[in-house]
Amino acid sequence: MNENIIEFRNVSIDYPLRKYTIRAVTDVTLGIKRGKITALVGESGSGKTTLSSSIIQCISEPGKIASGDIVFFDNVDGEDKKIVVSKFKEKEMKPFRWKRVSMVFQAAQSALNPVMTVEQQFVETLLAHGEDKDKQKQRARCKELLEYVKLDAERVLSSYPHELSGGMKQRVMIAFSLLLNPDLIILDEPTTALDVITQSYIFNLLKQINREKNISMILMTHDISVVAKFADYVGVMYGGRLVEYGKVNDIFRKRRHPYTEGLINATPSIIGDIDKLKPIEGSPPDLMNLPKGCIFSPRCPYAQEVCVGEEPSEICLEDGSKGRCYFFKERDNGRK
């Protein structure tokens, strides 16, 4: 049994615009572990949303996969079936969406159709996937899920989206994502618009779903403290590249890539002194005008001559971590 559920193989994604083409994701090779939570960290514009929405071919217009494959491993009775989803036609993709891979959107408030009740939207999705047409069963299924996320199912089902609070909507979206028992849920910054208490509540809920239902998750966020608490694996993205990947402990202890180190140093903690925060100098890369060599080199405090020459290729280590930095192996800031 393959331990990955999704594999990105040298995936590049382009946005062809009128005058030039922007490469939003460049040569990403990444395996998403089955039954685990993999976090994708990076600033906005780093390509994490583009990358993960490419699984279900929902990249916002006019983005397209330029090269590489996305492979989905279907586990049928202990036997692996390899499905190349990036080669799917729109017709084949439709049943795959939500049934195998579902998504919780960044802005839950706007991810629901404002003129339909929650129940109408749930039922519509069930019908689109040819599920049971029995109204009683449909309702029971919706209720079960909403109760699972600890909502007042009766009330919520007959509500319109604008009648629910932000936290409620986010829980509705989570229940929604579970509707067809998917294998993988993509969580696109699921808590950005919520207060801290609701945030931790939502994350505990997600963790519980991950454990109980054995659903794999991709968690996109720029909040590094959330990652430390909930993720099993972490991928760090910068300028469309996967600059570092590894187990959550390795990432936080060793901070091999200078960008990861910068991110962690720039995160405030409750006990820490605010003066010790070290923001990363400079600004995120301009995708239309990338620097030569390693794209992080202009902001990197450790940059050397070699860094501004060629772009470093991926260096893989024995413990499963990998990264794009000339000194990836040597650098180990770990407190072992």
């Binding site: 049943p95 049934k99 159709n113």
Partner: protein, 355 residues
């Protein structure tokens, strides 16, 4: 006895509470109705006093006309005029106003000074059907086309269709509707002689009623007015529908619906169209309400006997009471149709509070 009294008291209390709750529950409706009533009242007052500002004594004007026609002395003509005219020059403004309001409550919009038996009501009865026939057919056709085309090009913004639509919008937006009508008359009536240039039906060869020659003639005569309306308004509706659709397509719930595996057709109809149409419903209502006033210029170019042409003719002939009635009627229809749209809007857009 006392028991009955107590029962009655408690009944009154209950009924009072129920009425109170009713008012609170439908606050939205009553607020809207209240605003409409106030606007209507102010409109009556404004129109009435606006018409009193018109200089010149109507009796005198009519007398001059009679003098020229019949070759009599002015004094004799004046006497005759004040007898013939349905108008009392010595009545003061306020009693005239209250007489007018009283008439309104009886449903009388205004009697003609000049012709006995002719009133705003009788003119509405004969003229309004023609105005409404032409303009509402054009409105429905152009709205339907605009919504279809606007929705279509919004999804294919890079395609050739959108370029054509944009060009069409620019051209139709640059030609005022009455000039469009004039152009169509020139081309199709005078140059090609395919359609008649005047009137609403052929009065010599057909008799009004439910027969084919008459209906055919009516349609033949109505074609150019309807076409010119439609040509101009379609561009407008395409523009609004496309803008609204582009706004909706940028919303997250469209992408979310795609991620849920819904078909493109469902997304287009239930998600894009339905949401994009909401703001257009109000606009449709406003436009529909404005139809009742007729289109003066359009009707005068086609010499089509609608409300607009009637108003302009009556203004020229200084038959002001009828003018007042007709303008008031069209303003009232705008207000009433808007009120209806306001009242049914919460039923189609759940985000608007029902009160």
């Amino acid at each position: 006895m006392t028991k009955d009294k107590q029962n009655f008291k408690s009944f009154v209390k209950k009924a009072g509470r129920a009425i109170g709750r009713f008012f609170v529950k439908y606050k939205y409706f009553f607020a809207k109705i209240g605003v409409a009533v106030v606007t209507l009242t102010l409109t009556i007052i404004l129109l009435f006093f606006l018409l009193r500002l018109i200089p010149g004594d109507i009796v005198e004007l009519y007398a001059l006309k009679l003098q020229a026609q019949q070759g009599i002395t002015f004094d004799r003509a004046y006497e005759l005029a004040s007898q013939l005219l349905n108008y009392d020059p010595n009545e003061d403004v306020f009693s005239a106003f209250f007489r007018y309001i009283g008439g309104l409550f009886k449903g009388q919009l205004g009697e003609s000074y000049l012709e006995t038996g002719v009133s705003a009501n009788s003119l509405l009865k004969t003229r309004l059907p023609w105005t409404l026939f032409v303009s509402s057919v054009a409105l429905f056709v152009s709205f339907f086309l605009g919504v279809l085309i606007g929705g279509y090009v919004a999804q294919r913004r890079r395609g050739i269709g959108n370029k054509i639509a944009s060009t069409y919008i620019a051209i139709s937006g640059s030609i005022p509707d009455y000039l469009m009508a004039l152009l169509l008359v020139i081309v199709f009536a005078y140059k090609l002689d395919w359609f008649p240039s005047q009137n609403n039906y052929d009065a010599f060869n057909t008799t009004p009623g439910f027969n084919f020659p008459f209906i055919g003639s009516v349609l033949h005569h109505a074609f150019l007015p309807i076409l010119s309306y439609t040509l101009v308004q379609t561009g407008n509706w395409i523009l609004h529908m496309r803008g609204s659709c582009i706004g909706v397509l940028g919303e997250d719930y469209i992408n979310a619906a795609k991620a849920r595996g819904l078909s493109d057709r469902t997304i287009r109809n239930k998600y894009m169209r339905k949401n994009a149409l909401l703001p257009l419903v109000t606009m449709f209502g406003v436009t529909f309400g404005a139809l009742f006033g007729g289109a003066t210029l359009m009707e005068s170019i086609f010499n089509y006997p609608g409300i607009g042409l009637e108003i302009s003719n009556r203004i020229v002939n200084k038959d002001y009471m009828v003018v007042q009635g007709l303008i008031f009627f069209s303003a009232a229809m705008v207000i009433v149709v808007n009120l209806i749209v306001d009242l049914i809007y919460p039923l189609i857009d759940p985000r608007v509070k029902r009160g």
